[in-house]
Symmetry: C2
Subunit: 272 residues, 2 copies
């Protein structure tokens, strides 16, 4: 059973995992040094614990204690309780859904481990926006994909904003980070995967046609960065170049929307 | 040809259209009172003018003058030029893509006018998040939908953030706002439209099956708010209740992702 600890001073050192949650640069440094991540909101905190992550502590206003009493009963981590105004003094903003938790990061799986258990994966190249990373996880999870592979420069899926947009799917959908960006397309091919590069290139094949073709058992959908799309190297190295046909004069779908459409079209057949 | 005016004082009254761009409540009031909206970034400013909106003025750092010289040649509105630091003093934040424009809002089209020219529309109910509104416009435009209809409580598509996420598609994709929320499903039906309610209800039909069926000539896809989804009234009143089948244990797609998938699956057949 978690111990309830009333705290009044926003500078209390026991709250140091929760400081300045809107300062992205500071948070990146702090969270990687300490090996922690922050879950925000009752539903997300609940999912973090249910998916087996170890809590270091909680921080919440008194009114959230009841809503979370069942999950707090399963942990020994301290629950720091403060007024909402005082919490804002720690975090630097008004925490809309009241409850926060600081949790231990687990060791990352390797790319090979993640691929070994999967048949449909999204591969994200250099998505630097936490909202987009979260949206990719949420769509992949909802539409029956098994895992996400991240290029070295992709943003952290366990950053607070990404977790929130992903509705916690980052806690249980397996993911890994590519070490060798250059060699990755060959690694995929060597493991028997068919790679699909999502691109606006004129010679790319229509997603409808590709989805109706025989792609083999293991399919990797590669989506590129917000600005420039997939790199020339990954685009050229993929087995198939695929496009979502657009209305005349439109640049492109947002990468999160394109990922949702591709996952829908290419997902393993669903029953029911 | 636009006149170039150097300005140094961030409190100069000629800059009053650009103040405090991050203060959502203030901006809502100010923009509706003055009948203006703000375009941000070279590409979006360009599209606002190309789509025929009248500029009141521009505000930019010197280095953006060249990039926009062709469009500035087409307008008589003044171009206020300041250092990037001084612009930040006006707007309250660092304007990443340098250029801003203040433009006149045009009279809204009526729902009947918008529907008269369309065969595929997205109907958004109570989407209060500007990012989601922008994403819905961008996906609808890219995937061949003809228009967007907004419920009375939807956020403003001409709000800066929505415009940016929509990549300017709000400038040319027709849209209208429903006056009578309660009567709207009947209005749609009376005009010969088939309405599809996107819902998680257990008795809803699978999107794949619905997309393969004969829906008639005019199809309206109704999507609901971020928190609660579509209202019971609109859900019950629709001709067909439709669901995107989800992997076990997943709540739902984000509304922007669900809209992209629905537009992809239900769009008018594309050539090429």
């Amino acid at each position: 059973m978690a111990e309830i600890v009333e705290v009044t001073d926003p500078s209390d050192p026991r709250l140091r995992d929760y400081v300045d949650l809107r300062d992205v640069q500071l948070r990146k440094l702090l969270e990687s040094e300490r090996g922690v991540f922050i879950a925000e909101g009752e539903k997300v905190v609940r999912r973090a614990l249910e998916s087996g992550h170890q809590a270091r502590s909680f921080l919440m206003a008194p009114r959230w204690l009841d809503a979370l009493s069942d999950v707090l009963a399963t942990t020994d981590a301290p629950v720091y309780v403060m007024s909402e105004a005082a919490i804002e003094g720690v975090t630097g903003f008004h925490v809309h859904r009241g409850a926060l938790a600081s949790l231990d990061r687990r060791p990352l799986m390797s790319v090979e481990e993640v691929l070994a258990g999967a048949r449909r994966v999204v591969v994200a190249e250099d998505l630097v926006d936490h909202t987009n990373i979260g949206a990719v996880f949420r769509s992949a999870a909802a539409l029956g994909f098994d895992a996400v592979i991240l290029s070295p420069r992709c943003a952290d899926p366990l950053y607070r904003r990404a977790i929130k947009v992903a509705m916690g799917s980052v806690f249980w959908l397996p993911y890994a980070r590519v070490d060798d960006w250059y060699a990755f397309p060959d690694l995929l091919r060597g493991l028997g995967w068919t790679s699909l590069a999502m691109t606006l290139a004129e010679d790319a094949r229509d997603l409808r046609e590709v989805a109706a073709s025989n792609l083999g058992d293991k399919v990797a959908v590669m989506v590129g960065s917000e600005g420039d799309g997939l790199s020339p190297h990954w685009t050229r190295s993929a087995d198939v170049r695929v496009t979502v046909p657009m209305a005349a004069g439109i640049d492109s779908l947002n990468v999160a929307a394109a990922t949702a459409v591709a996952c829908w079209a290419l997902g393993a057949p669903r029953s029911g």
